[in-house]
Symmetry: C2
Subunit: 175 residues, 2 copies
């Protein structure tokens, strides 16, 4: 489909960091950390999780989350990801957590959210293209051994802490 | 120096959004929102500001802030920017604010900070390469008409609010 580019690692003129510079045409491929936006979604005393249809971690459970797009507010991004992955319309609440995952160059912004409940008879959620299934779990029956990523463990733990003790500002990475 | 690349705007196979794809070799230039990390730095009851030596807004005052680099934690990034722009070593405090600037595709993470004060006789700060000068300002004598960016107004206002009423979690964009 596409010719792999040959990049050299060097500091472009006027820059302070090494970048990948195309050997042929000098194009500088700036790479930046990425912002993940997502939510811990509550409904009827349960929590919504999505079983991943894509790699990495296909078949494992996660929350609706993904990369923020250009010109999108983080809140809009979190709602968009829930629509795409869980066919769900969210009412966002407080910012639950800000996690940094430097080895993946990610900063994650995670909201508390509830499912919006339109008129009766309407499905509130379903499996989007990137999900095998979407389900509500009791808090004492989470699929703990089949969680996709460490940060999902963190946010479920932090949401429990808010439910028990109230909201006191966003959490960071656990110690 | 470099041949400008010709990019077409299209949705690559398996993707959900339009991207810039090189007409010649198919290279996909993914562009993501960028994370700005910075700090409102206090010392001796004053606040540290940097007068910009670079565009945009050369000659105007800002706080030490810049883009987060790959594999860097946001806290390390905020400290690095203060070293680069103000030759200053910071002790970071609470996260003051999370601002989103969707028209620039930026999310800004801004900390409260104090200058670390090493042994006497050592300069605590100075103008880095991207600064014309770095100075401490009294809170009632800020260069209000020469502030570089709207978010700098926001964070100075929010820091004042914390000083007056205590810290209650990070601020977001003002209404
Ligand atoms: Zn090239
Ligand atoms: Zn090309």
């Amino acid at each position: 489909m596409s010719t792999p580019k040959q990049f050299d690692r060097l500091v472009p003129t006027g820059d302070t960091h090494e970048r990948d510079v195309c050997r042929t045409c000098g194009f500088v491929n700036y790479q930046n950390p990425r912002i993940v936006v997502g939510s811990v979604v509550r409904h009827a005393g349960k929590v919504l999780l999505c079983r991943r249809a894509i790699e990495p971690r296909r078949g494992f459970w996660t929350v609706p989350a993904g990369y923020l797009e250009l010109h999108e507010t983080p809140e809009d991004g979190a709602r968009r990801e829930a629509r795409e992955e869980a066919l769900a319309d969210l009412a966002l609440g407080e910012l639950l957590a800000i996690y940094s995952v430097p080895h993946l160059s990610q900063v994650q912004l995670i909201w508390r959210a509830e499912l919006n409940t339109p008129g009766t008879g309407t499905a509130l959620f379903g499996a989007g293209e990137e999900s095998l299934e979407v389900a509500l779990f009791d808090w004492d029956n989470l699929p703990t051994d089949e969680i996709a990523f460490p940060t999902v463990h963190w946010m479920l733990k932090h949401e429990r802490e808010v439910m028990a003790k109230g909201y006191r500002g966003p959490f960071g990475n656990p110690e």
